[in-house]
Each structure stands twice: as C-alpha cells, then as structure tokens.
Amino acid sequence: MTVILNQSFTGISIGAVLLLIALGLTLTFGQMGVINMAHGEFIMAGAYTTYVLQKSISSAGVSLLVALPLAFLVAGAMGALLEWLLIRRLYTRPLDTLLVTWGVSLMLQQLARDLFGAPNVQTAAPDLLTGNISVAGITLANNRLFILGLALLCVLGLTLILRLTPLGRRIRAVVQNRDLAEVSGIATERVDRTTFFIGSGLAGVAGVALTLVGPIGPTMGTNYIVDAFLVVVVGGIAQLKGSVITAFALGVLQSVLEYSTTVSVAKVIVLVAIVAILQWRPQGLYTLRTRSLA
C-alpha cells in the first residue's frame, strides 16, 4: 500500500513537471496553434539563468527566488523575439512552424554549448528543499513538493489572467475570432506577442524548477518537449483543466507502470493509452463544440 502511495506521489511530481512545461504550450499551441519545438530550449534558458545567478548570488535560496521571475523574463523575451522574427510569418502554415522552430531549437542548443560547454552542470538546492517530510508513512521530497506547489500556483495565476484581466479577454477574443477581434479594435499582433511571451516565460519557470531535480544541459529540453505536447493533445486545447488532469494522470500512470514493469515498457504503454484516448476523444478530453469546423 505504501509502495503504491509512494509511487503515486512520484507520479504526481512527474506530472507537476509535465504540467509546468505543458502550461506554456497551452498558450502557444493550445490558444495560438503554434507548434513551437524551441519551447524545450526556453526551459533550458530558464535553467541556465538559475545557474548563472547562483554564480553571483551565493545563497541558494535567494538565487532561486530571484531566478523565478528573471527566468520568466528571459525565456519570455526569447519567445517574443522568436514570434516577431519568424512565427508571425507562419500563422497560415502551422505545421511548418514545427520544422522552423526545430531549426531554432538546434541553434539554441548549440549556442548553449558554446556559452556554457557541452557537459551538464548542476546547481545547489536551498537547504530547505533538500530534505524529506514523512506523512502517514509516505516520504515526500521537499523539492518535489515545491515543484508541485509552483505548478499549481502557475495554473492559478494563468487561470486568473485568462478569466479576469483585460489581457485575458483579448487573448480569448483573438483565439475565438481573429478577424472580429481585429475590427473590434484589438491589436491582434500585440496580443499574439504577449501570449507568446507569457507562454514562453512559463517554460523558463519550468526550467528553474527542473534545476531542483536534475542536471542542466544543452539538450535538457528535448527530453520533455514531446511528452509535454502529448499532454496538451490529450487534454484538449480549449481548456486549462484538460492539461492539468492529463499531466497528473500521465505522470501517475507512467510511474506506477515503471514500478510494475520497466521504464521503457511503461513509455510504450502510455503511448498506447494515448492513442486509445484519442479514439474516444479525438480532439482531446476538453473541447469547445462549435458549428461547422470543416
């Protein structure tokens, strides 16, 4: 029993990492339809931001706290730049953005290699986050709890922005009917760039979180990117809660399967499960039903 609970907690924390990464994608992929393969490199940028900060700020706790907003800004700026340089020219060809941004991702990885070297680097975690706490016989790692909290905080923040702020209303308006939004006086191009900024910034935050559980390296983003896209695909692009549920479900499924089989077999079973879910809900778990989507 405790084994299952422990394994479930591991799964939830895997899910939290997936969710943090997928959250940015729900904006850039879900709301805007852009398949940004360089999203993984924005994660990397966030992680390296933490690494650089820790060189100048000795306290691991302070540097982590500073890194969170800074990584958001760094990754967000990179995203906005990418949108301005390339992606806005490709809105009519969404599939081609996949290949173009893959090219960008290759270049950013090489840039990281040139700047920080090819080998992985580490950051020190704050003391507070290195220990464990035990609740009812389950061991909960503090860093995993922190990531879980961070993920939930980001979900909450994003929900509030989308629901309550004028910016959120504009984002939803542009998604639902770009032309109408434009003639209603919304600067759609600026909304696009802001959406991309926030989505990419969230990748940066995810990168900071990843420094707590693993090494930092030029290719760290590619390990997560496809899984994160799958989360959005299965969750359905219309609503945040689809991604939240899917991220945790996939995380738990993966980690329980890993326990009973092997990592690689678990991976294959999860993919089969995803194809099965898409048989049942081809547009993902949560969709908006509208007329004539030919």
Partner: protein, 257 residues
C-alpha cells in the same frame, strides 16, 4: 429520372444549449427547385449540415427510403446527396478537368485509381458543357473567377451523379449577369435533379424558385410558392421588422464566422 425527394421530420440541432434547428419538418418533392430563405441565424446552413452528416442532429431525415441521420458524411454522399459551401471549395491546385474527374470517381475500384486517366469520362464532358467550362478545363481551378468556381462546384455535383443538390448561397458575390446564368443553370439542372438552394437574394429567389420555405429561429415559418410566401404576414414581420409583439431575443449566433 427526376431526382429523389427528401423528407425531414422534427429535426433538431443543439450547440451547447443553443437550439440552432428547433423541430423542422420539410417535404421536398422529387424534381423540386426549393429555396430556403430566412434571416441570419435562422438555421438554414445548419439544416443542410445536419442532412449531409456534418453535425449531429435528432429527428429523422429520409431520402430514397433510407434514414440519413447517424450515417457518416461519405456514406450520405454516396446515396446521392451533394452539397456546396458558402465559400466555393474546389481543389485549387488541380485543373477543372481533374476536379470533375475526382468528383465522378467515388465508386472507382482500386485498380482504376492506380492508373492514369485516359480520355475524359462522358459524364465529365457533359458537365463541362452544362456549366460552360469546356474551354477552361485545363486551367487550375484556383485561377477561376468566383462565379466560375461556383459553376465548377455545381458541375462536380452533377458528375457525382447526385439526385439531390444542396447549394449554400450559390450566387453570393456574383455579378448580375452571373446570377442570371446561374439561375438558368439551376433550372436546367432541376429538370432531372432535386435542387435545394439557400439564398439571401430575394430577386434571385423570385426569378427562379419553384417553391420556398422560410426559416426563422430554427423553425419553418412559412412554406409555399413564391407568391404565397410573400403574402404571408408572418414572413413580412420577420423580414420587415413590423413586429406587433416585442422582437424575439436577438439572434445569438452569426450565420458565418
């Protein structure tokens, strides 16, 4: 042969609580040239969507003795129902001839499919003549004028060997001469097909309709010949806004995105 009739009973389509089609009954006789008119949001296009399997609906739609609801789109098409869309959708990179040849070929076997087209099928030649596109047959459909694209679409329905044509605003955006030509084309087509036309253009309707159904807020408001419908007080209310009672709630869904 004069086409096949369509019988619709208590058809309902709901989008997230909004009743786009709210209990429509329609009887379209074989060989009719029926116009569906009504203000934006009346449910005209949704009705056609439901008949052709594009949206889910409840009720009953019978055609040639078969129930259409719950059949997949391509099966309904194979029963002999063809449609066009508000925006002309032809395969722009293919030539006029290729467009028509594809439309004519849904029943071709795999071996025919894997071979090159040799010569022009008779039905295609006939459709090229009927629509007047013979001289343009080797042009890519993408370079055709707006009206020509609409004619090509109708031609595609003809070679598809449909018995019932459902046309969604075929003359929208056409010049006056193009409208006349299209109307004549429709009259010719309706000699051996059943034709249903969704239209906003009242002059066009008056010139060519054989019968008319007026839809309003998801229901059939009035039905009959052009003169009968025009004389109907309820129709005048809806169209001219001479409402004796308070206007019903504003139409919530625009007809076209």
């Amino acid at each position: 042969m004069s086409g096949e009739g369509l019988t619709v009973r208590d058809l309902r389509v709901t989008f997230d609580g909004f009743k786009a089609v709210d209990g429509v009954d329609l009887d379209i006789r074989p060989g009719d040239l029926r116009f569906l008119i009504g203000p934006n949001g009346a449910g005209k296009t949704t009705l056609v969507d439901a008949v052709t399997g594009l949206v889910k609906a409840t009720g009953s739609v019978r055609f040639g003795g078969e129930e259409l609801l719950a059949k997949p789109v391509h099966r309904i098409a194979r029963l002999g129902i063809g449609r066009t869309f508000q925006t002309a959708t032809v395969f722009e990179e293919l030539t006029v001839l290729q467009n028509l040849d594809i439309a004519a070929g849904a029943r071709r076997g795999p071996l025919t499919m894997l071979r090159r087209r040799k010569g022009i099928p008779e039905a295609v030649t006939k459709a090229l003549e009927t629509t007047g596109l013979t001289d343009l047959r080797d042009r890519p459909a993408g370079v055709l004028a707006h009206g020509q694209k609409q004619w090509l679409e109708i031609g595609m329905l003809l070679v598809q060997d449909v018995k019932l044509l459902l046309l969604d605003e075929p003359v929208a955006g056409m010049s006056h001469e193009e409208r006349e030509a299209t109307g004549e084309l429709l009259q010719r087509v309706s000699e051996d097909h059943t034709v249903v036309v969704i239209e906003h253009d009242m002059d066009f309707m008056r010139s060519f309709a054989r019968s008319v159904s007026v839809l309003h807020a998801g229901k059939v408001l009035s039905e009959g010949s052009v003169t009968e419908v025009q004389a109907d007080a309820k129709v005048q209310e809806v169209y001219l806004g001479r409402a004796s009672e308070p206007e019903p709630a504003a139409v919530p869904v625009p007809e076209e995105a």
